[in-house]
């Protein structure tokens, strides 16, 4: 048990040693950059681009499936008229 506790102490010491000097300044710089208008604008730009892509895909899908539906309907119309011609011939 004692060695396990010692190991936890070692673990904390080892982890603490991974933090290089100047860490708080780096964090504050990163935090400032993350909340800067430039970052927000960049993020907004990404969001707008993603939304535009989504709209384009949806529009294309709606158009493609509309064309497909029209083609299928035309095909079915033709089959129906052929079937009724056949029926009349019989």
């Amino acid at each position: 048990m004692k060695t396990e506790n010692q190991a936890w102490v070692r673990l904390r010491e080892h982890a603490a040693a991974q933090i290089a000097p100047g860490f708080p300044d780096r964090v504050l710089r990163a935090a400032r950059a993350a909340s800067s208008p430039l970052f927000i604008a960049h993020f907004a730009m990404c969001a707008v681009t993603a939304a535009a892509c989504l709209v384009a895909v949806a529009l294309y899908h709606a158009r493609a499936s509309g064309d497909e539906d029209a083609q299928s309907l035309a095909g079915w119309g033709e089959i129906t008229s052929q079937a009724s011609d056949l029926e009349q011939g019989l």
Partner: protein
């Protein structure tokens, strides 16, 4: 933690909430090593400790104005740290699906000299056998969090925390002892 230190911490948090960068800096200095230890216990990787600690403190700096109870800063910070570490592990797992590495690259060992003590190595290996959530649980206990605070962090009951903690401790002890032998 005595009353005066709680008052000092509360005061520091309130100043940081008002945008005082000196107070924010003081908070980072006070907690950087503890957050690093916590992240290391969960991830087991020395090379990601500083990045993770930075992510935690950047999140803290951005979210601190929204913290409603300044006296709850410590449990709040460790909840943030826990979520950041678990998210990091999840992202890594997801990345492995899209970029599958060869088996020999899966578990890149710690750089030589990174782990200098046998007992630490044994603990690291024992922790690696547990689920990330159990590692977080044990690390929170090591941080001195109460069962009630941990239950709040995990969104569960105190009884469930006690049961999980008992299981996690047992598992850790088994793996730790087998590693030592």
């Amino acid at each position: 933690m005595d009353e005066s230190s709680t008052t000092t911490l509360g005061d520091r948090v309130r100043r940081a909430q008002r945008g005082d960068e000196v107070a924010l800096r003081e908070l980072i200095v006070s907690y950087q090593h503890r957050v690093a230890g916590f992240a290391y216990a969960i991830t087991g990787r020395s090379d990601s400790v500083e990045d993770l600690a930075q992510m935690v403190f950047v999140k803290m700096a951005r979210a601190i104005p929204r913290l409603k109870a300044p006296e709850q800063f410590e449990p709040w910070l460790f909840r943030l740290a826990r979520n950041t570490c678990i998210d990091h592990l999840r992202r890594q797992k997801l990345r492995r699906i899209f970029i599958p590495f060869a088996p020999e690259h899966e578990n890149v060992p710690e750089p030589s000299g990174a782990v200098d003590a046998e007992e630490l190595d044994a603990l690291r290996h024992a922790l690696a056998q547990l689920r990330p959530k159990d590692r977080a649980l044990l690390a929170l206990v090591q941080e001195g969090r109460s069962h009630a605070e941990i239950a709040e962090t995990f969104g569960t009951s105190v009884a469930a925390v006690k049961a999980r903690l008992h299981r996690a401790r047992e598992q850790l002890r088994q793996h730790y002892q087998s590693d030592e032998n």
